[in-house]
Amino acid sequence: MRRRVLPGFGISLGYALAYLGLIVLLPLAALAWKASGIGVEGLLRLLSSPRTLAALRLSVVGAVVAALVNAVIGLLVGWVLVRYRFPGRRLFDALVDLPFALPTAVAGIALTTLYAPNGWLGQWLEPLGIKVAYTPLGVFVAMVFVGFPFVVRTLQPVLASLERDVEEAAESLGAQRWQTFFRVILPMLAPALLTGFALALARAVGEYGSVIFIAGNIPMRSEIAPLLIVQKLEQFDYAGAAALGVAMLAISFALLVLVSLLQRWSHRWQERSL
């Protein structure tokens, strides 16, 4: 074996695998084992019910759109925080972490207080015919809120390490501003941006605490998939709840695989553009 700078490969590998197994795989295995009680037929019946489909659609589509919005706004905010110096910058930088730090229930209640028809924002939106709290739009707002820090925090270190001379070189070679952004900066940011997008997405798909307060929880309209799991548990239907959990896990996993494929492709894009 090649000599490494730091010793202890065997023990650290063993520890890492054991830890992963204990913390990640064991609970997942337990989930799958519980879910197997429902049987294939039961699973198909569960997944083909219109109510399950509607809830899954709201959770997944809402999370994807929220993560897209976060990717765009997060890029902008990250850029501003890294590139510009302005009074209060450190404060704004600290504020980004707030959705991480806030207990999700508090976030949900705060958002509902803001957007309810008698809330600070809601009372101005209501006359315009825009209803946020207790609608799918409210679910989306909460998902944007909880996912926001992921994009900013994954982008910041990459943005900080971007060398300005690259942009200057692009400019001196006659690139337009949009060309500099799309052909020089974006390819370098793409892997980190996709990671942030994936994290925001994963967080939003399974989010319960903050969403539940602002969603109206009306079946077929504003009911999220995690709520269906809670309802199954309320009937002591552990197998059904676990099966829904496995289904959500499979969807999330498929989305994450998709994102990592995109990431690979973006690496190639990055290399080509350099």
């Binding site: 028809p117 207790y134 309320e234 059904g240």
Partner: protein, 333 residues
């Protein structure tokens, strides 16, 4: 190294003997959400009585949460000595796992329900929509707030109360009752997951014209919020909501706390326990105390679960399980 282990073991030993010698008894009461105020007072009174009679001091720890979630915690190993939940179905679920006898409801008087409540309406000041009875809830332009019966025990009582009203109307049948509750849920803009959440939506967010609620929640909300911002409307007919209590057999045998746990649930039936229940807006079972607190609890026609629906297992299967009547209503679609 060896020495430190010995010291540790000695310390543990000392702690254990100290705990045995002090004769402190500890009970865990696993309850549902709106009983916080009630059991705080019950526990103080019971501890004083037990100390006076037996000389031992008893500490009662409480755990509160949604009734179904609490039952699941006990099933999954929360070492409850006593459970005091929102509906018998949740204690049945614990009994199904063998933690207490299947006939637990026969072991205490009144179906193991020391106090009852009922389902009433909370409306905004001056009752602007003129809500008087269940029929008014389905008028055009009336919005009703009630939690989701799939996730809330309180909401199941609400649902059955509405069903019973429709069933008891002239010409009432399962078909007319189903049509009525279907219409009713078309007037519900938000289905909160629990009873407290629904109260918040109605009170704090200003959503809806009527909140269907436990009488004790409605009275508590009215008293705590004051300013006469809300009024209680008692419908012509409603259900007797029976939140039951039970001693968890296998846990008290393990802890050696059967005697004190039994005394604790029996204390709820004593004149003192009944009075505390009444002060916390639960309807006492004792006729004497019911008479004394009559002004607080308006008279109305009531029916019980067993009058119309059999027991909770049957009601749960017929109405609230997957594919049951609530799912058939197509709420939202």
């Amino acid at each position: 190294m060896k020495k430190s282990i010995l010291v540790l073991l000695a310390a543990i030993g000392v702690l254990l003997t100290a705990a045995v010698a002090a004769k402190d008894v500890s009970l865990l009461n696993v309850s549902y959400d709106p009983t916080r105020e009630l059991y705080r007072q019950i526990n103080t009174a019971f501890a004083a009585q037990w100390k006076a009679q037996h000389g031992d001091s008893v500490t009662i720890q409480m755990s509160h949460g949604g009734s179904g979630k609490q039952a699941r915690s006990v099933v999954d190993g929360l070492p409850a000595d006593v459970v005091t939940l929102a509906l018998a179905y949740d204690i049945d679920a614990i009994a199904d796992r063998g933690l207490l006898a299947k006939d637990w409801q026969k072991k205490l008087p009144n179906n193991a329900t020391p106090y009852t409540s009922t389902i009433v309406f909370l409306v905004r000041k001056g009752n602007p929509k003129g809500i008087k009875d269940w029929g008014d809830l389905v008028r055009a332009g009336v919005q009703v707030v009630t939690p989701n019966p799939k996730s809330s025990g309180g909401a199941r009582w609400n649902f059955l109360a509405a069903w019973g009203y429709a069933l008891k109307q002239p010409g009432g049948s399962d078909a007319t009752a189903k049509a009525y509750v279907k219409e009713l849920f078309k007037h519900v803009p938000v289905l909160d997951t629990g009873a407290r959440g629904a109260t918040n939506t109605f009170v704090q967010r200003g959503i809806g014209d009527v909140l269907i609620a436990w009488e004790n929640e409605a009275l508590l909300a009215q008293r705590q919020l004051g300013n006469n911002a809300f009024e209680i409307v008692v419908p012509s007919i409603t259900i007797v909501a029976e939140p039951p209590v039970a001693v968890v057999d296998s846990n008290v045998d393990k802890h050696g706390t059967r005697a004190v746990a039994q005394a604790y649930v029996e204390f709820l039936y004593s004149p003192q326990g009944q009075e505390i229940a009444a002060k916390n807006f639960y309807r006492p079972r004792s006729p004497e105390l019911a008479a004394r607190y009559a002004s607080q609890f308006p008279a109305t026609h009531t029916f019980t679960l067993s009058d119309l629906f059999g027991d909770w297992r049957q009601a749960q299967a017929k109405f609230f399980n997957d594919g049951g009547i609530f799912d058939q209503l197509g709420v939202g679609s």
